[in-house]
Symmetry: C2
Subunit: 199 residues, 2 copies
């Protein structure tokens, strides 16, 4: 049901975006309406472009313009290591560190029994498809967040992948660099002690 009034329609369309309530949506709508036509055109063109031009990378399910994403196409990246992430923003965050030279696999979500999201709703099948007979993959780094759903997803994938004879690892949890012990929450602190490494 689309609202009959175009202003109400735009406000409610903006309000569907995450973190944008009725009030902000209304502010955005009036801002857009008071701009010369170019912002409206630019935004609606950009929206249509992502719809038409952007799809999933055939190999890693990253968002991409072509059939393979820039990372999968880059011959300098090491195909022997796959870093499994929840989402494209997480992939971008890791890319920004400049530390990782392997490839990725984007799940587009986490297993969440409470929200009724199972492995079939994620790009898990596509991940398994990367372990064919001619597979070069030697290690899978499970880089989902250390949240309840992130841990559950990592555990699920670890059990699935280990029998395939591949090394499975998990990103480290602990006190953030620059963080203060005093203010770390109990769970993080106890995890940091448990997973201490030899100096």
């Amino acid at each position: 049901m689309k609202p009959d009034d175009p202003i109400t329609h735009l406000i409610s369309a903006f309000a569907r975006l995450p973190g944008i309530g009725e009030r902000t949506a209304s502010r955005l709508a009036f801002f857009v309406m008071n701009q010369p036509g170019d912002l409206v055109d630019d935004l609606s063109e950009a929206l249509q472009r992502v719809k038409v031009e952007v799809g999933f990378c055939e190999r890693c399910s990253n968002l991409t313009k072509g059939t393979l994403c820039q990372i999968c196409e880059d011959t300098k990246r090491d195909p022997a290591t796959i870093c499994v992430v929840e989402s494209t923003p997480d992939l971008r965050a890791i890319e920004r560190t400049g530390e990782f030279r392997g490839t990725y696999h984007v799940l587009h979500g986490l297993i969440s029994p409470l929200e009724g999201i199972g492995p079939d709703d994620l790009k898990v099948r596509e991940l398994l498809a990367r372990f064919g007979t001619d597979s070069e993959v030697k290690e899978v780094i499970l880089a989902t967040s250390p949240s309840v759903d992130g841990e559950a997803t990592a555990l699920y994938l670890a059990r699935l992948l280990k029998p395939l004879g591949v090394n499975v690892s998990r990103i480290a949890s602990g006190i953030p660099i620059g963080g203060e012990l005093e203010y770390a929450d109990k769970v993080t602190l106890s995890r940091a002690i448990m997973q201490r490494r030899v100096f």
Copy 2:
């Protein structure tokens, strides 16, 4: 210059909205891209609709679908009082109080010498056009914000309108209802004392 990459294009289009930085823009873009097509379509359709369907009310410059806005068309509204506001959101805020039964005039901005915005950039000519020979207008309430630009605009309009033989008033400034004297800023407090009313 439109970015070649559709994802970058959408992010930079979102980032043109007020209060939305690069990071939020990127979050919105990835949210939109991970939704089934309907949100993209809904938002871009809503944008195009406001562009095509929404224009200025011929009388009061409020945003409207038709030639006259709902308020100007409403015969139960009193055309003898015009409340002058900076923007449509300000008009909506006054409407929400349910206290005002007159009509409006929307300036779409404030006079701001610092930003190079003069009366000709606002709907001032349209306001003056409402004081023809058969004008029913008896009072103009200047309801711009009590900010520097808002006060300057009110002063400018008052000087322009008074010679036309119309009553010109200004909304009250003072301590907000529910606010505490202790925390009121100096200017507001001194204004509240100066403009005290007989009890």
